[in-house]
Symmetry: C2
Subunit: 345 residues, 2 copies
């Protein structure tokens, strides 16, 4: 009901803006007030197996667990920032230019007046992994079972996970992912050391530090990182202005302590075809159960499934689908309506 109303509002508000932004190849100049990058978190580790090469010392100290952050703050009035947190086997590239060369959410949100912070999860992308255990095995100081757990998602297996189709290379009807550019999408995928890390992932306390450092922000997750903003709120509500969980791999359980989510604007967003995929249908069901329980405990949570408001064909990678800016506009409208103030420090 709430979404039917919002949908009507968006038809009036968002579409002219979209026409302006996406009809032309060149969206026009963008004025940035400030941009840059930094790290949050990090832990020094001493090791005797940093290297097996004579040119680099085997013994020494490295820093791991830090989280890389790249940011842009647009010129114009202050607005609550958005922190973009990528999912499994990917990096912050997720939110940038799409595989077929269209504008990503990172830039679109900035163009719409929001400071944007894009992270690389700990141990991935520009955030260093600890490879000491690999060299310990190579040097005969440890056994192969002590190798770190690291995986790479193959194209064929990822196909159904991303809901491009039921089996590779079959394609879902009405698919909005730019499948002709799938080859460019595969290049975004990186090895994932996730299973090697403690719970919560070091990314979680780093997110908490980040939102406090920047004076508050909306945590926007995707897929495997879906649980992180909730875990961050459980650590501390400081700096968390809202949570947008885009196709979360998991929501908190209805039986969890739900007090961290009281009065917190939370949106869980899913695309199309969910019920046709056994990996995803239960996840949506679990998130619905969480949302109901959170609201019963004084929460402000909602679930949006795009086909329910007449938007069809979206995959798990909806920030890269051909209507990605229409969805970005939906999210901005939700944030604009529900996240009305900077959180108290």
């Amino acid at each position: 009901m709430r979404w039917l109303l919002m949908s009507a509002v968006l038809c009036a508000v968002a579409l002219p803006a979209l026409a302006q932004t996406t009809s032309a190849e060149d969206p026009g100049p963008l004025t940035i007030a400030k941009q840059g990058s930094f790290f949050v978190g990090g832990r020094d580790v001493k090791s005797d197996t940093l290297s097996t090469l004579p040119a680099y010392a085997a013994s020494g100290t490295v820093t791991v667990d830090q989280m890389y952050v790249h940011f842009q703050v647009p010129a114009g009035p202050a607005a609550v920032p958005i922190v973009l947190i990528h999912g499994c086997c990917l990096t912050g590239k997720t939110w940038e230019t799409t595989p077929d060369g269209r504008m990503g959410w990172d830039e679109y949100f900035v163009r719409k007046g929001r400071p944007v912070y894009v992270i690389d999860q700990a141990w991935r992308g520009r955030s260093a992994a600890d490879i000491s255990a690999i060299n310990a095995v190579k040097a005969g100081k440890a056994t192969p079972d002590q190798l770190p757990t690291v995986f790479a998602a193959g194209h064929e297996g990822a196909w159904a996970i991303f809901r491009f189709g039921q089996t590779y290379p079959q394609v879902m009807p009405g698919l909005r992912f730019p499948i002709a550019s799938a080859g460019e999408f595969w290049k975004q995928m990186v090895p994932d050391f996730l299973a090697n890390l403690p719970t919560p992932n070091p990314t979680v306390p780093a997110l908490s530090e980040l939102v406090q450092r920047i004076g508050g922000g909306v945590l926007m997750s995707h897929s495997q990182s879906g649980i992180y903003p909730f875990q961050t709120a459980a650590l501390s509500r400081a700096g968390i202005a809202g949570i947008v969980a885009v196709e979360p791999g998991a929501c908190p359980l209805p039986t969890d302590d739900l007090t961290p989510y009281k009065d917190l604007p939370i949106l869980v967003l899913f695309g199309d075809y969910v019920d046709q995929f056994p990996r995803w249908a239960p996840r949506l069901a679990n998130c619905r159960a969480f949302v109901a329980a959170a609201n019963a405990a004084g929460g402000r949570a909602e679930v949006l499934v795009l086909p329910d408001i007449g938007i069809h064909g979206n995959t798990h990678m909806l920030m890269q689908d051909d209507n990605n800016l229409q969805i970005a506009e939906l999210l901005l409208a939700w944030i604009g309506k529900n996240v009305t103030a900077f959180p108290k420090p």
Copy 2:
């Protein structure tokens, strides 16, 4: 002699610009015409050891060897772009905000009118490595000696490599690196699979494809990547407008085929303390020998060692030293004088 003259010119030209840019905390807004990211290169690899986890298939195809590229094109007249190529154990973060929070060369060059392309070398940062061999050993299908060669540079060993001091934690007199923020610098370092890759590194053909795709550019390397622009020119001169080798780990040999460098503007830049470090003194000497030989063969190469023009205290990480924008201005002046046109396609 040439540099004495240029130095005098720069005192008149560069210093007012620097005062404008660095005296204030806030350099003012920046207008971008276009920005985004993409990959160049990449190769599909089939593997049966992508994963040891039941949730992800062991068999499938992954894409590796691609090079991540992030770019910004400023508003204003067209100018020859600069491609920034980081060195050992680092990523494109090298060129961004310094460890103590000052502006990096990536943004400074854009503010001075240059399109800038920042890459992550193949198998590093946002450019995926192939981890199949790790899982092959973990699964008992290969022996530990077949593990990939990967190393992490420890703080203590890196100290002298970066010429912060002769031995950790001793500091060189007059050091310009923001050593109080060394902890933030260590967070930039990532594991390096370099020794595992063929020669030339897959980054080299990717650089060749990149400069052709963007209509030409100056290749600016650092340290371990120092030889890459020369190897790229040896593949093809197409798109290469000039080479700036910042503290290169290696220059071509004087006995190499030097025809790829004929008429090509080349600058080799070194900082301070070089003669006091046995790792670096021979490298500078070798580059001097290359420059002499290249010029004898019709080249337009030069070496600049900063203390020779009265600039002291610069380390191997001179793009992060406290006078980093002064050095950026020197390089822009050199490019402006020597790279006067887009290269022919």
